[in-house]
C-alpha cells in the first residue's frame, strides 16, 4: 500500500496538464452553452476533436480511437486533472461514454469508422435508447419490436427518457428481435439515424432545468439497414451490459468528483458565505463529517478497485461505488439545503461559481442540486436495483 503515484504516472499528469494549458479554449469563446446532453456548442466540438486527435479524449483507448493506451493509473490522473480544473470530458456524455464505447467494443470495423469515431470527434452526437414506458428497471422486458425483412429491420414501438434525443444524430436503440425466447435472449442493438422517416421525437422537461433533455421517441415502421446491427442478432443484452467495459473501473471517479465539487462549494459557503451561521451547529458538523468520509471512502474504494484490476483480480464493486456515490451526493445536498435554511432556496447562481468547461448543472441552488441528485439514484440502475445486485452477486443471496 502506498499513498502516492509513481513518477511515471506523475509525468503523465504533467504532460496532460501542459496540453490543457496550451489547448483549453479561451473563456470568451465559451458563451454559447449546451442546451441538452446531446447538444455540443461549436467551441466545445472543436475542443473535443482536438482532444481526440491528440490522444487525450479517452487515454485508455489506442490512438486510432482518441487515446494513447494509457494504463489505469494514468487514466485516473487524467480524470483527476479534468476534475480539478472543472472540465467535462464531453457535453454528449451518453454518446461518448456509452454509444461509441459500445460500438468500439461490439461493432464491426466499418461501424467504428462510420459512427464511433465521428461521435468521439464530436462531428455527430448520439443518444441512448434503452428505457421504455413498460421497461425501466426491468430493461430486459423492453418491447420495441424490430422485424428483419431482407436487408433491413422494420422498427415499431416507443422509447422514453432518451436524454438529448432531440439534438442527437443517432440513437443506439435496444429492440426486441425475437419475442418467442426468454426475454434476455431476444434483444438486439441497432444504430438508428434520427432523421429516418417514421421516427418522431418529443422532448419534455425535467424538474431541474427550463430546457428539455428527456424525450419520448416513437418508431412507426422505421426502416433500419441490417448493417446497423451492433453485435450479433439477438445478442443485444451482452451489448447492453458490456458497453461500459472499457471504463468500468473509472466510473466511480465521476461520482467522487461530483461529491468533491459539492464539498468545495459547501466549504466556501460555510466559511464565509450564506452558511457561516451553520458552521458552528453541531448537527451540521456531524452531517458534514459523514459526507467528508463518504468522499474519502469513495476515492479509496475506487483506488482499491484500480489496484485490484491492475493485478488482474475480478472487480466487483461497481454497484457499491455507484450506490455510495449517488446517495452521498443526495445526503450532502440535503444537508446543505437544510443547513442554509431559506437561503438554500435561492436559485440565483453566483456567476463565478462555475467553470465554463463544465456542464451547467454543476452550480445550482442547493434545492436544485438536491433534486438533481435523483438523476443519480434513478438512472443507470436505481439504488434499489443496485442493492439487489450487491446482495445477489456480491453477497451470494438467492435471487
Amino acid at each position: 500500500m502506498r499513498l502516492t503515484y509513481s513518477p511515471e504516472v506523475e509525468a503523465f499528469r504533467a504532460e496532460f496538464s501542459a496540453w490543457l494549458d496550451a489547448n483549453l479554449p479561451d473563456e470568451a469563446a465559451t458563451a454559447v452553452r449546451p442546451r441538452s446532453s446531446a447538444d455540443i456548442p461549436e467551441w466545445s466540438r472543436s475542443f473535443q476533436r482536438r482532444m481526440f486527435d491528440d490522444g487525450w479524449l479517452v487515454p485508455g483507448y489506442p490512438p486510432e480511437f482518441g487515446g494513447r493506451n494509457a494504463d489505469l493509473y494514468e487514466q485516473a490522473v487524467f480524470w483527476e486533472e479534468l476534475g480539478r480544473r472543472r472540465i467535462t470530458q464531453s457535453f454528449n456524455p451518453q454518446g461518448l461514454g456509452i454509444v461509441s464505447a459500445s460500438i468500439i467494443t461490439f461493432g464491426t470495423g466499418e461501424q467504428k469508422h462510420r459512427w464511433a469515431v465521428p461521435i468521439m470527434r464530436a462531428e455527430r452526437t448520439a443518444a441512448l435508447g434503452m428505457s421504455e414506458p413498460g421497461a425501466g428497471s426491468d430493461l430486459a422486458g423492453l418491447s420495441t419490436r424490430a422485424v428483419l425483412d431482407g436487408d433491413r429491420f422494420i422498427v415499431n414501438g416507443q422509447k422514453v427518457w432518451t436524454s438529448g434525443a432531440h439534438h442527437a444524430d443517432v440513437l443506439l436503440a435496444f429492440v426486441r428481435t425475437d419475442p418467442d425466447v426468454p426475454k434476455h435472449k431476444g434483444i438486439s442493438a441497432l444504430i438508428i439515424e434520427t432523421d429516418t422517416p417514421g421516427l418522431v421525437r418529443r422532448p419534455f422537461r425535467d424538474i431541474t432545468r427550463p430546457d428539455p433533455d428527456f424525450n419520448e421517441v416513437f418508431f412507426d415502421d422505421v426502416e433500419v439497414p441490417r448493417e446497423n446491427l451492433v453485435g450479433e442478432l439477438n445478442d443485444g443484452w451482452r451489448v447492453c451490459t458490456g458497453s461500459l467495459a472499457h471504463e468500468r473501473e473509472m466510473l466511480w471517479i465521476l461520482w467522487s468528483q461530483g461529491l468533491d465539487r459539492m464539498l468545495d462549494d459547501m466549504l466556501e459557503q460555510l466559511n464565509d458565505g450564506a452558511g457561516a451561521g451553520a458552521a458552528g451547529d453541531p448537527v451540521v458538523l456531524d452531517g458534514l463529517g459523514s459526507s467528508i468520509m463518504d468522499s474519502w471512502a469513495l476515492r479509496l474504494l475506487g483506488q482499491r478497485q484500480l489496484a485490484r484490476s491492475r493485478r488482474g483480480l475480478h472487480v466487483a464493486d461497481q454497484s457499491l461505488l455507484k450506490l455510495l456515490g449517488s446517495e452521498a451526493q443526495q445526503k450532502l445536498s440535503l444537508l446543505m439545503l437544510e443547513a442554509l435554511g431559506p437561503a438554500g432556496l435561492d436559485r440565483t447562481v453566483p456567476p463565478d461559481a462555475q467553470s465554463p468547461y463544465e456542464s451547467d448543472r454543476a452550480a445550482l441552488s442547493w434545492a436544485d442540486r438536491y433534486f438533481f441528485t435523483f438523476a443519480g439514484t434513478i438512472s443507470g440502475g436505481t439504488s434499489e436495483i443496485h442493492r439487489n445486485i450487491i446482495a445477489e452477486r456480491v453477497l451470494g443471496q438467492p435471487r
Binding site: L267, G289, I292, E392, L395
Partner: protein, 373 residues
C-alpha cells in the same frame, strides 16, 4: 497510489487469521463472557509468538512491522472478539510512552512490553468520554524526589489488571505523562457489557511515584494527541473486525434459514439490509486502512484519517449491530448463539475513545479549517 495489501501483507493476514482461529475460537470469547476465563493464556501465546514485539516500532525495541501490519492484526483480534491486554498495551500504552518519552527512553521502558512481560494502559479521560488531553484536570506535584498525584481517571481499559498505567496529568499547569504502577492504585472496575474489554475508574489521589517516572520534557499535549490517534485507529480496526464477523454470521444465516419455503435472504427487505451492512463495512474498511497507512508514514493526514476511521467504524457497527441482531431473529437473542459476543465488542468499540458523532464533528472542523476535502 496502490491502495491494496501487498502479497506479504495478505500472507500475514492469512497467518494471523489461522493462529487466532486456533487460539481464540468463539469458545474462548464465550468462556470469558461466562466468567470462566480471563484470556490470560491467549496473551501468553501471543507473547510467545512475539506479537507485542512485532507491533512495536523498532525505535521502541520492537520488530518494527508497520502500522498497516498492526491494523491487520487488530482487525483479526476484533473478528475473534479476542480478550486480553494486547490492545491496551500495544495500541494505548506503548504509543503514549513512545510519544511522551521519546524513542531512546521509550526503548528502555518498553523492552519488557516487547518481550510480553509487562502490560500497560493509559489514563486520560476524566468522564467526558472524549479522551481530550485539553480536558485533563488531574494533577501531580513534586515532593522531594517523588511525585504525588491527585484526580480521578475514567474508562481506563484494563485499569484493574495492567502492570503500568501511563497517566496524563498536569504539572504546574502543563500536560505531562507519569508512569504509575498498577499496584499503587485502587481501581473500581465497571461491570462490563463485554467482559473481554474491561475498564475501570482509577483514583490517583495520594499516589506517590519516584520522580523519574515523569516522561519526557515539556508539555505533552501534542504527544498525547498523537498517541491517541493510534489508539483511536486501533479501536476502529477492532470494531471493523467485529462488524465483519457479525456480517459473516448473518450473511450465512440468511442463506440457510428457510421460512415460507425459501431462504430468508431471498426477501428483499433482508437483501437490502445486507447490502447496506456491506456498504458501511467496506466504507469503514478503506478508511481504517487509510488511517493505518497515514500512521505508518507519519503523514500529515493522520489526525483526520484516524477520526474518519473511528467514525466510519462507528457507523458500520451501528448498522451491523442493529440489523445483524434483527435479521438473526430469536436465535440471535439467545446467550447460546455466538452473535452477541461480537455485538458487544462492536458496541465497546463505538464508545471507547470518542463516539462516531464526536469524531465526525472533528472531521468537519478539520475540513473547515484546512479548506480542502
Amino acid at each position: 497510489m496502490e491502495f491494496e495489501f501487498t502479497e506479504d501483507q495478505l500472507e500475514l493476514q492469512r497467518a494471523v487469521r489461522d493462529i487466532l482461529d486456533a487460539e481464540a475460537p468463539p469458545e474462548l470469547a464465550r468462556a470469558v463472557a461466562d466468567g470462566e476465563s480471563d484470556g490470560a493464556e491467549l496473551w501468553g501465546t501471543l507473547a510467545g509468538l512475539e506479537w507485542p514485539a512485532m507491533a512495536l516500532p523498532a525505535d521502541a525495541g520492537g520488530l518494527g512491522f508497520g502500522w498497516v501490519e498492526l491494523a491487520i492484526v487488530l482487525e483479526e483480534l476484533g473478528r475473534h472478539a479476542a480478550p486480553g491486554p494486547f490492545v491496551a498495551t500495544v495500541t494505548q500504552f506503548a504509543p503514549l510512552v513512545l510519544e511522551a518519552a521519546g524513542p531512546e527512553d521509550a526503548a528502555v521502558l518498553l523492552s519488557d512490553v516487547a518481550a510480553g512481560r509487562t502490560t500497560g494502559t493509559v489514563a486520560v479521560d476524566e468522564g467526558a468520554g472524549t479522551w481530550d488531553p485539553a480536558g485533563v484536570q488531574a494533577t501531580t506535584r513534586r515532593d522531594g524526589d517523588h511525585l504525588v498525584l491527585s484526580g480521578t481517571k475514567h474508562y481506563v481499559v484494563d485499569g484493574a489488571t495492567a502492570d503500568e498505567i501511563a497517566a496524563v496529568v498536569r504539572l504546574d499547569g502543563e500536560v505531562r505523562v507519569v508512569l504509575v504502577p498498577g499496584s499503587s492504585v485502587q481501581p473500581v472496575e465497571v461491570m462490563p457489557i463485554d467482559p473481554g474489554v474491561r475498564h475501570s475508574t482509577v483514583s490517583l489521589d495520594g499516589v506517590r511515584v519516584p520522580a523519574d517516572r515523569l516522561l519526557g520534557r515539556g508539555d505533552a499535549t501534542r504527544a498525547t494527541r498523537r498517541a491517541l490517534e493510534e489508539s483511536v485507529a486501533a479501536i476502529a480496526a477492532i470494531t471493523l473486525g467485529a462488524c465483519q464477523q457479525i456480517f459473516d454470521i448473518i450473511n450465512a444465516h440468511a442463506k440457510e434459514r428457510i421460512q415460507f419455503g425459501v431462504p430468508i435472504g431471498s426477501f428483499q427487505a433482508v437483501k437490502h439490509k445486507l447490502a447496506d451492512m456491506y456498504r458501511d463495512i467496506e466504507r469503514a474498511r478503506v478508511l481504517v486502512y487509510y488511517a493505518a497507512l497515514t500512521l505508518a508514514e507519519d503523514h500529515p493526514d493522520r489526525t483526520l484519517a484516524a477520526s474518519m476511521a473511528k467514525a466510519a467504524a462507528g457507523e458500520a457497527q451501528r448498522r451491523c449491530v442493529q440489523d445483524g441482531l434483527q435479521l438473526a431473529g430469536g436465535i440471535g437473542y439467545t446467550w447460546e448463539h455466538d452473535l452477541h459476543l461480537f455485538l458487544r465488542r462492536a458496541k465497546v468499540g463505538e464508545l471507547h475513545f470518542g463516539s462516531a458523532s464526536h469524531h465526525r464533528r472533528r472531521v468537519a472542523r478539520l475540513f473547515l479549517q484546512s479548506g480542502a476535502a
